[in-house]
């Protein structure tokens, strides 16, 4: 889908720019999918990869960080939702981990888990400003402790962060996924390959085959 929208609201979340747009038509988004958002500004050669952090009543919240040059009123050309998002199974206990301290990209996922009636534990070094009471916040360092508890695990971070945590965790049989946050300049259109990720089934493009991957499938750089 292609949309021309205006950035109607900007605010700081943990020191990073987050925003909100109005979408004229309802958008079906899976948590973990993303948009490519280009402003008309001549100093931005590439579209920014933007993850939704909320999708209600025609409003789409955009997770931080947004480009610092954007301001309220900036016109954006949006392409998306793109890629493959999380596949949250119907389970009772869900663990989410924000490896880089930004929790907003996981917000749609914990909302979905709560709707499905699951208990949610969020592992992070930085406590987010607003969070449903039902979500329990725990320090990132204690993530290995949930191995007996969680029936589903979702990591979110850069590829090196995801791979490093994968090597420290042992979740045999537990459904586990990772949102791999890396540059996706072409969104698959060019098959440029800069978003390449090595998996057990060969090289994959995060922009189309991800950015969410089965954690068990990911292989070292």
């Amino acid at each position: 889908m292609e949309l021309n929208v205006e950035l109607v609201e900007l605010r700081l979340e943990g020191g990073l720019l987050a925003g909100r747009i109005h979408v004229p038509v309802p958008v079906q988004i899976t948590a973990g999918q993303y948009f490519l958002a280009a402003s008309g500004r001549p100093d931005e050669a590439l579209a920014a990869v933007v993850f939704p952090a909320g999708n209600m009543d025609g409003w789409l919240d955009l997770a931080p960080p947004l480009p610092s040059a954007w301001s309220a009123g900036t016109l954006l050309h949006l392409r998306g939702p793109l890629g493959r998002g999380f596949r949250l199974p119907v389970v009772r206990r869900v663990a989410l981990a924000a490896l880089d301290g930004i929790t907003a990209r996981l917000r749609l996922l914990w909302n979905q888990a709560l709707v499905q009636g699951a208990e949610v534990a969020l592992f992070t070094r930085r406590i987010p400003a607003s969070l449903p009471d039902a979500v329990e916040v725990l320090p990132l360092e204690s993530l290995p402790d949930v191995s007996g508890w969680a029936e589903y695990l979702a990591l979110d971070g850069t590829l090196p962060q995801v791979l490093e945590w994968k090597s420290r965790l042992a979740f045999p049989g537990v459904a586990a996924e990772a949102l791999v946050n890396l540059p996706m300049p072409c969104g698959g259109m060019g098959e440029c390959g800069v978003c390449s990720v090595r998996t057990r089934r060969g090289w994959k493009h995060a922009c189309q085959d991800g950015p969410v991957f089965d954690l068990h499938e990911l292989e070292a750089l």
């Binding site: 008309g40 001549p42 931005e44 050669a45 590439l46 540059p183 072409c186 060019g190 098959e191 800069v194």
Partner: protein
Amino acid sequence: MILPPPGLELASPWMNAAGSMGFVPDSRLPFPHPMGAFVTNPISRKPRTPAENRTCIPYPGGCLLHTGLPNPGLRAVLRQAGVRWARADVPVWVHLLADSPAELAEMVRALEGLEGVAALEVGIAPTANGEDALALASAALGELPVVVQIPFDRADEPWLDRLAALGVSGLTLGAPRGSMPVPDGRLVSGRLLGPGLFPQVLAAVRSARRINLPLIAGAGLFQQAHVEAVLAAGAAAVQLDAVLWRGWMEG
């Protein structure tokens, strides 16, 4: 403007740059119609895996893209894309990446006679000097028209004046290369994309007019006015790159 030779006439000056639109033309792509030609991603004889330190680093006016030019190798590309090139409603230019003239000649033979393939574009490796490049260009010559692609900052080099006499049909002035430091202190090198390259590609087109070949301006075009300016300055065609991913810029 020098017109393309027979066999290489274009329905319009609009093309994409190698690496910008994948291996197969897709009519859903946001491209001005009619498209003069579709240029494939760079294809090597053997498969190339992504570069270990692949990355995309923004800087003022552009970004550095380092991918290692991954591709499954010519044989696999032909298997996957050959039929769709034949069916495409736009001429396909196959972009070839080769380490030696012999390797290139082998790839060229595999492409000759294939339906839909209108021309070969031969990428010159950053390490190749003029003699290497002329040898590569010669090795590519056969039944298909050959267009040579160089980074535009090489447009002043004297060996380019010999391409026309060899039988080459055109010259693409493509993305230049640059380097950037990465957090671990090492440097990463790759293609540069972005509107900040426009004054340089325009100057390169002017400089390359001395060469008796149709010129294709293939970097730094992000506004319609950029395209008009390079065409007015003597380019026979344009190749768009990252503007196809992000949409036109204002102004």
